[in-house]
Homo-oligomer: 330 residues x 2
């Protein structure tokens, strides 16, 4: 395969400095479009690739960052991934996304892989993982960022602050006179129980209502589980007039079931999702939801990783504000 092409070769061919080539490749600084095109053409012509092998040998780490998520089919995580990529590209790192299908066994196996393959970092949205499962990764010195509602102990973490948003959602629902509030929650064995449900319960009292036990159903964070849960709730002796869902996929499943049962959303039942995944504004009626900003989470995760790679030793927890997005379903 001949001599290895260097950055200097590319710079010479494009008629720019090596620094400019580096800026184009790393995205670390803006470069004029014409210059960028010239550099990219030279990169292609010469078949240049960034010499990550050299860096790996130097640092003993691969240039891969694992993003470990419970459901790759949820576009929330694709958005998070895109922002994380954007944030680590300047470091010459690549993001690989790993799907655990919400299984603890997979979560643990993928963490073990990340350690074994000397990944540059791990960002994980745990679903059934226990905090103690992270210990081997931290001990191996792999920088980890956890995105979770509940504290995960000594580790960098991003958590939602959904108090205001949840209050606004309850305001929206109860001001319309709705009083039978139901929840389609995640499974009972999800990590940390269900802080979103607890928060909703606590705040509902402030609105003179409550979330009765018989109006809480549980399932995976999927469209199918949402349809099943909604069907179950509507079969109750006193069915709900508002349903909060643990994520948007569940809410879309609830819509499927409502259509099947001939129930009008929001006239008969108001529906509120969580996350604001890309499809929330595609469905009809458009979904009202508690937005947790995926891109912001991805950006922060990149920042926390970067700080740790730069040598920060204390752990940080960053709170991200959720926001109530009122559309047509509630």
């Amino acid at each position: 395969m001949g001599e290895r092409v260097t950055m200097a070769d590319v710079a010479r061919a494009a008629g720019v400095s090596s620094a400019t080539v580096s800026y184009v490749l790393s995205g670390k600084r803006a470069v004029a479009p014409a210059t960028r095109t010239a550099v990219e053409a030279a990169v292609d012509r010469l078949g240049f690739t960034v010499n990550t092998t050299a860096r790996s040998l130097r640092t003993g780490r691969s240039s891969l960052v694992a993003l470990i998520v419970p459901d790759l089919a949820n576009p929330f995580f694709a958005q998070l991934a895109a922002a994380l990529e954007e944030g680590v590209r300047g470091l010459g790192l690549h993001v690989v996304v790993c799907n655990t299908r919400a299984r603890r066994e997979e979560e643990r196996a993928l963490l073990a892989e990340a350690v074994q393959q000397h990944f540059a970092g791990v960002v994980i949205t745990p679903f059934r993982l226990l905090p103690s499962d992270l210990r081997p990764v931290v001990e191996a010195g792999v920088p980890v960022v956890v995105s979770a509602d509940v504290p995960f102990g000594p580790v960098d973490q991003i958590s939602p602050d959904a108090r205001v948003a949840t209050r606004q959602a309850l305001q929206c629902v109860t001001s319309g006179g709705r009083r039978r509030i139901a929840v389609i929650a995640g499974p009972r064995d999800a990590t940390g129980g269900d802080p979103r449900l607890e928060l909703l319960r606590a705040l509902a009292l402030q609105f003179g209502t409550s979330v009765p036990r018989e109006l809480v159903v549980r399932g995976e964070h999927t469209r199918e589980a949402g349809a099943a849960g909604f069907g179950e709730l509507l079969g109750r002796r006193h069915p709900p007039d508002a349903v909060f869902c643990a994520n948007d996929a569940i809410a879309v499943g609830a819509m499927d079931k409502a259509r099947e049962l001939g129930i009008e959303i929001p006239e008969e039942v108001a529906l509120i999702g969580h996350d604001d995944a890309s499809f929330a504004s595609l469905v009809r009626p458009q979904l009202s939801t508690i937005r947790y900003p995926a891109a912001e989470v991805g950006r922060l995760a990149a920042q926390l990783l970067r700080e740790r790679l730069d040598g920060r030793e204390v752990f940080r927890t960053v709170k991200v504000k959720a926001e109530f997005i009122r559309r047509a379903s509630a």
Copy 2:
């Protein structure tokens, strides 16, 4: 971290055979739910992890398969990924998904990473990659499966057979009397040009119509590009009455723009997507589309990888039939 827990330890603790433990972990055979639960509990209690290190040392390969895609936010690829995972799990392999954002530079960099990290295999949906870019991967002995419309040379490949489906879509559109057929195609520098457009052009002649040059616009495979392309087409002196889109994201963008312009779909313009991504049936009107079965592609990719890991040396090309799904938009 103490003695390594073995599969035999788990078997003893769960009161089953080591073979049964292996079946539960690999998913290779069905196991009674109670047995599965007992094994999983023992795995958790003992903190057992599959010893991939040992296997890696034995084979010189990691247990990771890279799925390299142009747009992680397109749920088509999430579906493909899920089926690929399902198909390689029995081999103890994990899938990591890598997003190239349709850039050749990223496609090449990620392939280089896969070689350098001794990945067990690569499945790639190229967007701007050239066939010659694959040579280093093949030469390094990393099994590769390419999912692409155009032939990629000496490599395992999965390609669509969209002849019948495209004919049915044209039949649907022209039988309603539509004659001004437009295409929102991919970018000019996409790998292999645009075989979908060529096929549509060739078949249109059989329906006594054609796709005139002024009714072909180009852009990325994104919602934004679809909106821009649709706006451009509707600004023509003789605007189209039917628009074929290179993928479903483009078609949803076209819908956005139609709403903005007050144009009724399908009354004024029929709209046809490509892929049948999960949101195609969520949007209103529901999107008619040429379905390319993502799960089938993922399943086949796993099979081709498996065969190659088992020692098959000749390259195989597998055709997958596309299918016209008529919904409300055409």
